[in-house]
Amino acid sequence: MADPVLEARGLSKSFGALVANDAVTLDLRPGEIHAVIGPNGAGKSTLIAQLCGALRPDSGEVRLQGEDVTGLSVAQRARLGLARTFQVSALAMEDSVLENAVLGALGATGSPWRFWRAALSRPTLVAQAEAALDRVGLAEARHRRVADLSHGQRRQLEVAVALTLGPRAFVMDEPMAGLGSEGSADLTRLLDALRHEAPILLVEHDMDAVFALADRISVLVYGRVLMTGTVAEVRASAEVRAAYLGDAA
């Protein structure tokens, strides 16, 4: 078994009396899509925040490519190759689509400290950004302002910016949220191809997408990992059915 790219080891996080994550352990292996599912309030967002560095765990550690990154900031983890997408799009709304993607390409270079030549007249940055936009199907819209985009296009741009980083691992927080069935199908195809470039930790409510994509699924309930297994195993589990899936399985 190849070494995991991203690991959560015994992550616990409480907010007052509420235990949001209770000794969560899971890993992301090369080439896979590992979906994290669970009912609302199961602690998925808290888990993502700890993996990406926005929250410090009370105990436990986060490892990226075998290295302990628990003490590193969001920005530092991003520079080490962790790319995330947000559940609620976090984009520079006044800027163009291309500028947002170029920002990602700039992030991949590791330094924003260039004051002279315009960002949009740097061929390598622009090429990288356009390649990413092309893959998510936003090439046509590249000169539009993000504020003028549809919700679905913003979701696509979220993924494109993560792509420009050329990361070692993706953490995607409900990338399908609010997409129509066609949009979901497009994004499902894209993620399917993407797993071979970098593995994806996918938090998602769209069960069709999860069952179509996931190599493994972890089920989070009340802050704990109820089980981790293949799609078939999870679908067959009576426990999971009771806790979350209901009739969907």
Binding site: P112, R114, F115
Partner: protein
Amino acid sequence: MIGERVLSLGVLAVLGGVALLAAATDEPFTITLATRVAILALAAAGLNIALGLGGLVSFGHALFFGLGGYVMGILAFHAQTYTPLDLGLFEVAGTKSMPLIWLAAVAVSALVAIPVGLLALRTSGVYFIMITLAFAQMFYYFTISWSAYGGEDGLSIYVRNGFPGLNTLDPIQFFGLCFALLCVVLWLSARLARSPFGLALGAARQAPARAEAVGFDPMRLRLVAFIISGAIAGLAGALYADLNRFVSPAMFGWHLSGELIVLVILGGVARIIGPVVGAGLFVMLEHFLGQVTDFWQIWLGLILLVIVLYARGGIVGLVSPRRTGHG
């Protein structure tokens, strides 16, 4: 609708043209007004980098304006009294050379901006506004009690400082210097806005989480913007002191910090030529309405109200609306 570049060049041409016309018809007072516009625009252009690009509403940029003024005042004072300036570890001679004074003003402002920025940027919103205000007020009260350099009465410099090859006592030549510096700074700001740093700073303003997620530290981006912004305001302060041949604690006053914000908002936040338009309008109102009534600022207030309510992009935004973020 006019393109931003055309508009910018047009506005600068009008400012330069007015000064040249005044020189030709021998109206030094009009040249002085144009010089005032250029210098205030320069200070506001500095603020625009923090406020416009970085989203940092500094209500204390008079701090840097005043520092530039006092750097000029102190260096020139020691030159005109032939006394050395004791800096503790070593002594330096005063100077009447503008390039040296500008360099010192920029350096001192940038150095002071580092600790001020580090402290103020830990906060945001109202607290950021209050902390920047507090720093400027600290210097205001300090200079009031600093009797070595005139205290409350301020410090007069008898002869305007010199620039190699120019006669700075000639109003139009001094205007030319200020105007040239303004043009250079505006050109640099335009480049900065489009540069990778400008893009990252803009992202840190609009979506800090995004800037972090691509590996940038929003705090550092803002600090650098704050330092650059302060350094430019310091340069403007040195020029302003030279225009009046006088520095006083009022240069640190919160009135001035407020005026600079007003200039930026009038002209158009984050628009390159905005500060010049804002400063031009401000000085014209002050001059023409000021002749009619002492309460001219009531009218300024009304204009500001209309702009904030109905034209967020300021006057530049009315004439030349932007299409994308970096227009």
